[in-house]
């Protein structure tokens, strides 16, 4: 499980936790998140995301 950070706003997506309230189950890998998903904090589209891979 990895963590990814949005370089625009600092939002961290933790694959282990997911975003259950957004319909993304715990354990969902970054590559499996739908393409039309957007950063819940700043609205950057997934396609525009420049995630920084954080050490797990």
């Amino acid at each position: 499980m990895k963590k990814w950070q949005c370089i625009v706003c600092g939002f961290i997506y933790d694959e282990a936790v997911g975003i259950p309230e957004d319909g993304i189950r715990a354990g969902t890998r970054w590559q499996d998140i739908p393409a039309d998903w957007a950063c819940p904090d700043c609205g950057v589209a997934k396609a525009d995301f420049e995630m920084v891979e954080l050490a797990a």
């Binding site: 370089i7 625009v8 706003c9 600092g10 309230e21 819940p40 904090d41 700043c42 609205g43």
Partner: protein
């Protein structure tokens, strides 16, 4: 093909440049900045202590890599002193000038400074960019006691960050509650209690009138004539759009540079985006309006006009001790607040009874997605 020039390489300037390049790789693009042009995340400045980031590690992408990514010319350490609208040229401080076909002002905002008395008034810092943060970080080394002026979004985030990094934190604001412009009463009360429980001392209805040097640190005098010692004072009382260049050029300015729903000023070749812009009457110095604005403006600059229509845009306050999400309603007052031990869920409805804003504090922030869905109908 026209030559687009963007003044400013903050989040607005760089986001716009990225959006332009997604649509078009050929248009000539120049960005001009008075700083070194590094790309960094501004929202991370007020959470850096607790997340272990430094002014150095916050440097996300250096200017050389930005030039390559954006296929753009980026002029750093360059001051633009005037806009020649008839000749469509920018006058630079070094005596040179630069042409543009379309100009975007993404020059941001300046921290508001409250007038202070005392021989150490000049030592009061503000943090509005990475350079400011580097100065703050250098001064913070070894410091135990920090006084914050302002309990707005930035003030609360810094209070959260500094208390978590083990410092003594005193927060002053003339308003009766933190986040006075964003939160209804019960929501603000919950945030205040949560930060106070972590050790933050709020001095509400009170500000600082003087800062003087003391044998060990600084002596502050409050507007209630109390005294308090601190080692460092950080001012976060708000931002004022930078309209200087626009006003000198005769463009319409109000609280910000006045633009329409196409982000266009009253000069059809000049646009504004971000903290400097007043879009259809509103200055919204947050991340989401920049993201939405940049997409539309890129299309407009490339000759595919689109009017900006904001979706509901929640504002996040990164107070990790007590998270806050606010979707400000169009009108003040009339909140319905549900208070529990773990948080506050505040709803705002319009005259037709539809949800048109919300404020979530603490555990209630988990309801954000559901409430956004309800607002979008």
């Amino acid at each position: 093909m026209s030559h687009i020039v963007i003044l400013g390489t903050g989040l607005a300037g760089y986001t716009l440049a990225r959006e332009i390049r997604k649509r078009n790789r050929d248009v000539t693009l120049t960005l001009i900045t008075h700083d070194d042009g590094v790309f960094y995340s501004k929202p991370m400045l007020s959470t850096a202590q607790a997340t272990g980031k430094t002014a150095q590690t916050l440097r996300n992408t250096e200017v050389a890599a930005m030039r390559e990514e954006l296929a753009a010319e980026i002029l750093t350490h360059t001051q633009v002193i005037a806009i020649d609208r008839d000749g469509k040229r920018l006058q630079l401080a070094d005596g040179q000038s630069r042409p543009y076909d379309k100009l975007v002002l993404a020059v941001g905002a300046q921290p508001i400074r409250v007038p202070l008395q005392g021989d150490a008034a000049e030592s009061v810092l503000s943090v509005n960019n990475l350079e400011d943060y580097a100065r703050f970080e250098a001064r913070l080394a070894g410091v135990k006691r920090v006084a914050l002026l302002g309990a707005g979004l930035i003030g609360c985030e810094f209070a959260n960050d500094l208390i978590k990094s083990g410092r003594q934190v005193d927060v002053f604001d003339l308003a009766p509650q933190p986040l006075g412009r964003l939160l209804p009463e019960a929501a603000a009360h919950h945030l205040r209690e949560a930060l106070a429980a972590a050790g933050v001392r709020f001095h509400l209805g009170e500000s600082i009138s003087a800062v003087e040097r003391a044998p060990a640190g600084l002596a502050l005098t409050t507007t209630q004539c109390d005294t308090l010692e601190a080692d460092l004072v950080l001012s976060a009382v708000g931002l004022r759009s930078d309209t200087t260049l626009a006003a000198q050029a005769g463009l319409a300015v109000n609280r910000g540079i006045v633009v329409n729903e196409y982000l266009q000023t009253d000069d059809e070749s000049i646009y504004a985006l971000g903290d400097c812009a007043e879009v259809c009457g509103a200055v919204l110095p947050y991340v989401m309006p920049i993201m939405n604005g940049a997409r539309v403006l890129a299309a407009n600059l490339l000759g595919e006009p689109q009017a900006l229509k904001y979706p509901p845009m929640p504002v996040l306050v990164k107070t990790s001790l007590c998270p806050v999400v606010v979707c400000p309603p169009p009108a003040a007052g009339g909140w319905q607040e549900e208070v529990s031990d773990t948080g506050v869920l505040s709803r705002h409805h319009n005259a037709a009874g539809q949800l048109d804003g919300f404020a979530l504090v603490g555990a209630a922030t988990a309801q954000r997605a559901a409430l956004l869905k309800e607002m979008q109908g």
